[in-house]
Subunit: 355 residues, 2 copies
Amino acid sequence: MASVNAEEVGSNKQVILRDYVTGFLYVTTSTIQLKVPEGSNAVLVKNLYLSCDPYMRGLMRPTGSIKASYISSFTPGSPITGHGVAKVLDSADPNFKKGNLVWGITGWEEYSLITETDFLFKIQDTDVPLSYYTGILGKLTASNSVCMPGMTAYGGFYEVCSPKKGEYVFISAASGAVGQLVGQFAKLLGCFVVGSAGSKEKVDLLKNKFGFDDAFNYKEEPDLDATLKRYFPEGIDIYFENVGGKTLDAVLLNMRIHGRIAACGMISQYNLDQPEGVKNLMYLIYNRIHIQGIAVFDYYHLYPKFLDFVLPYIREGKIVYVEDIAEGLESGPAALVGLFSGRNVGKQVVVVARE
Amino acid sequence: MASVNAEEVGSNKQVILRDYVTGFLYVTTSTIQLKVPEGSNAVLVKNLYLSCDPYMRGLMRPTGSIKASYISSFTPGSPITGHGVAKVLDSADPNFKKGNLVWGITGWEEYSLITETDFLFKIQDTDVPLSYYTGILGKLTASNSVCMPGMTAYGGFYEVCSPKKGEYVFISAASGAVGQLVGQFAKLLGCFVVGSAGSKEKVDLLKNKFGFDDAFNYKEEPDLDATLKRYFPEGIDIYFENVGGKTLDAVLLNMRIHGRIAACGMISQYNLDQPEGVKNLMYLIYNRIHIQGIAVFDYYHLYPKFLDFVLPYIREGKIVYVEDIAEGLESGPAALVGLFSGRNVGKQVVVVARE
């Protein structure tokens, strides 16, 4: 065994997958060598911001329990992985050097030795918050990075929904990482936009910060069909689906002819053993509705176009992006689990370190 | 009251809608004047063939009970209407004259006085069975004629499913009016095609008459998911949906990435007070599946192209069309209701008279 210089070893706090099925996480501390090992092409990074995304729930089930080719599960006993922003401490890869800020696939831990550097990218524009690279400015970087909000909102809304000025747009989980952007894109195009969310605070955000035409708290609406008829007496042209279940059933009753549904997520269903049955699918035929399940990597080729589109809006303040920042790696498991009870307000990010 | 020449009055057997909700039909005989009334532009026809279509079930509910703009209900106490083939007995419309064979919207009765002649068309090609104009050769003729099999199969398969040679195609209710054509179109293109149906006789028809690669009787398959995995170990690229409910749920588990579903009908659900819930919609997202509800009038513009495509195949015997002929108007109600228990083998037609 090669001798290890004491100065090159650091303590390394990590978030570990305890076991499959229940998907419990725990935080532990191991040690890590703070130099890239000889003969490797890896990059050693200090993690700064980690992204919390609903798709990560699926990776806490054994591989193969869902027939979906792009999902390969986390490994029990190992740190979970995800999208993050990090700083390079040491690099054996000529594309990166010490001090570079990068974004891509990293571990939920203080320091990560990244061997698959294909999924790591240098950050060019640093005049926007670094944490945005976990969200609005992220793009697909690997087959297991599924749901980058900015590109998902962009591809799902413009490519799947074929939106036109003046159309009626409904967004569920509308203050979330993707929903808040879809709503702002729709407003920029001149659509009528209503969002649903799960608290007064989020509803206020939708109306006052993101400029939605209207918004409601679904928890206060016992009859969602009646609610949607109130907000959309003419019906809905475009539904951006983030929740599934009862909401989808009510929406189907209110879609206009040739309506379009981008199915981005069904967060209400992820933690159920038996998903709720959706009963109103006949309305797909009555009104010739189009549903398309979306995943951001189908829109990968649009990334340069997307950056050209979105960066000026961010700099001018015409698109705002709200993040819910959890401080410290210890807060990571609760932040991730909180997505499923709607605890977060805006895109959920974990700060491991600020620099 | 104008005097009526006895020779101009004939007895007129009719199929009447008894009442809404339960949709019971009865056959009665009234009288009809066998001349077009003075001052009208109507056409008087003798009905020959009537088409039985699942969409007619929806028209036995009060208008407005389903939010679907194209459905206007039948009127209790009046004969129901539908697609048919007829012979002109008298005409005040210069486009038609006595002896013409026509197809279009007519009544379920022996003789009909048709006032809306916009939805009536002269039959040009008489070298194919006349009854085909209720089915494979029919097209949309009015806002309440919803489901013409030939155009539905053509538009739904080629426009919605974007089929490619070698793809895996599954069709439910595959021996029905639409399914048998979709399967033959898919085989002509070089797809692998499996159909489901509800009897041994229908399964034999699929394999031996329509040239499907394989077929099964869904009533003998307790686990449809396992059945589909047996017939499609590689998964399904295209599903042509005619039945809904449990079948759709099992199909969702077996669709390949970027699979396409044309939702043409959900006949298993039409007579249920509470439709079955479909639980596997998450797979729309996992595998980025596209579902499109279809109605034939979205493909109206393709009719000339469709005729050029299909007539040579029919004449050469490369496309066959199986009809289930019910004899006599009295058999009409049972033939129509029989659609919902799968009693018919092939396209259900009622012969009122042969000439």
